[in-house]
């Protein structure tokens, strides 16, 4: 918890020419101008069109071929094995063991920009999918008469299992005492693996990965921003963001995104006086009711995390209620699902802005941890003596990158919501008016993001 959470403030406050809050106002102005520009220059839905073209020369078929898929899957399984092995057998010092840095930094955070840049990378390397498919393939040949057909995935479950899985992960990271202890990570990995294989056996590997498997859904959402998409075994290109326009939101999608945004918000607010001021009081409240300090501390952080997620979800629902108020005959639930995809770029920039220095600085540790994964003094690849370069990015550059990410992500969210509104409403004026509320949501999330970053930089 101490080493891997509250990662936004690895660098101190930047020496800026204007107060940080003025950047918030400037960002809001950019959003207002973008909104007007969209209303004038984007009169019909564009992202909803189904545009995709394969890479020339059959390259897309080679990249998405079965041998490549098997090699990537095996690599993913090997990494899963390394995490479990190092977790149990390595030193229990989080900073000196491969598992915590790999899981919390390089995989959980690092794969987010990779998904945006290169598409659904995790799908190729997903160890659970690889094992599930491998077992299914083997069982179909061993069992007489073949395997029974999987159950139909219940619509009412939607993305709820994924939301629960992501919540469990962030709770391990931000709530659990010693959640970054290697052995804890190894146990959590095995428990999650067992649950995933049971669900895959019930509903089928692909169906579970598409809707229920937390990390497949999490990274797939980010990959939909990218222009890369595989169709019928061939890699091709689509307009950026259009993958999100074709995303099927269901039950639990908006709560999943609230977990994604709210957990980063809580991590940022963890350093703010608003939280550090009341957390001891909440903890004391639980201790007065008989809890020992450690569970009271964990429960306090669970309350804080849940409250942050609830606030994010509540603010989104407020915007949806406002949009419903302009007419059109859509239910609040229908609108909440229809515009949920516009939160994905916001979730992206929350991760990128908040964990930028964490990824660039702490992420370097994987170089020496790969050579000495157990922390026992080995030097497998000759990189065990490498050190972290803390000068890789300056505090001022960090702030400008963070502000840039926040603005770009919210403009992207606004664009997605605008495009969807044009596709839904028959009256263009009504579509624009419904977007006043989404603009308020975007400005609110922008303000929150920059305020959180300012707290982390304090």
């Amino acid at each position: 918890l101490i080493l891997f959470a509250h990662a936004g403030g690895l660098l101190g406050r930047a020496d800026l020419p204007i107060p940080e809050w003025l950047f918030g106002w400037a960002a809001a102005m950019v959003l207002f101008v973008s909104f007007v520009a969209l209303a004038v220059l984007w009169p019909e839905p564009r992202l909803e069109r189904n545009r995709w073209r394969p890479l020339p020369g059959g390259v897309g078929r080679v990249i998405a071929s079965r041998p490549v898929e098997i090699i990537c899957g095996l690599l993913g399984v090997a990494l899963l094995g390394v995490v479990v092995y190092t977790g149990f057998r390595g030193t229990q010092s989080p900073a000196a063991n491969f598992a915590p840095t790999f899981v919390f930094v390089n995989w959980w955070v690092g794969l987010v920009p990779l998904s945006v840049l290169f598409g659904d990378v995790f799908r190729a390397f997903n160890p659970w999918r690889a094992i599930g498919r491998g077992l299914g393939w083997t069982a179909a040949r061993v069992v007489r008469g073949g395997l029974p057909a999987p159950l139909r995935y219940p619509e009412r479950l939607g993305h709820w299992p994924a939301a629960a899985g992501v919540f469990a992960f962030v709770a391990l990271e931000l709530v659990k005492s010693e959640g970054d202890k290697p052995e804890t990570i190894a146990i959590a990995t095995l428990v999650y693996s067992a649950a995933t294989f049971v669900a895959m056996a019930l509903y089928g590997v692909e169906a579970w990965c598409e809707r229920g498997e937390a990390y497949s859904v999490y990274f797939n959402l980010f990959s939909r921003i990218s222009p890369w998409e595989t169709r019928d075994g061939e890699l091709g290109l689509r307009p950026p963001l259009s993958g999100l326009a074709h995303f099927k939101a269901g039950a639990g999608t908006a709560p999943l995104l609230a977990v994604m945004i709210g957990s980063v918000s809580f991590d940022g607010a963890g350093e703010a006086p608003i939280w550090t001021g009341i957390a001891p009081d909440i903890s004391r409240f639980f201790q007065d009711r008989g809890l020992s300090p450690e569970p009271a501390f964990e429960l306090t952080f669970l309350v804080g995390l849940s409250a942050a997620i609830g606030i994010v979800y509540g603010f989104y629902r407020l915007g949806i209620l406002g949009a419903r108020g302009v007419g059109g005959g859509f239910s609040a639930e229908r609108l909440a699902r229809a515009f949920a995809h516009s939160l994905v770029p916001i979730a992206l920039v929350y991760v990128m802005a908040h964990y930028l220095t964490y990824l660039l600085i702490r992420g370097q540790a994987i170089l020496f941890l790969s050579s000495d994964p157990l922390g026992h003094g080995s030097d497998l690849f000759g990189t065990a003596t490498k050190q972290i370069d803390y000068g890789v990015i300056g505090s001022e550059a960090t702030w400008y990158w963070q502000v840039g990410f926040v603005i770009a992500g919210h403009v992207a969210g606004l664009t997605l919501a605008h495009d969807r509104a044009l596709a839904m409403y028959t009256d263009a004026k009504q579509a624009i008016r419904s977007q006043y509320w989404m603009l308020a949501v975007m400005v609110g999330f922008t303000s929150l993001a920059l305020w959180l970053l300012s707290q982390a930089n304090t």
Partner: protein
């Protein structure tokens, strides 16, 4: 203690001025629209 931190609180609130102002404007506009609609 709370008064001593007033500057800090004010700086925090300053971040949210654009969204608060916009929400107030939206709310007022929507109420006016409804009143206008029911009046006609």
């Amino acid at each position: 203690m709370y008064y001593a931190h007033a500057g800090h609180w004010l700086t925090g609130i300053a971040y949210f001025v654009p969204v608060i102002a916009f929400l107030v404007w939206l709310g007022v506009t929507q109420i006016k629209d409804r009143r206008g609609g029911s009046g006609s």
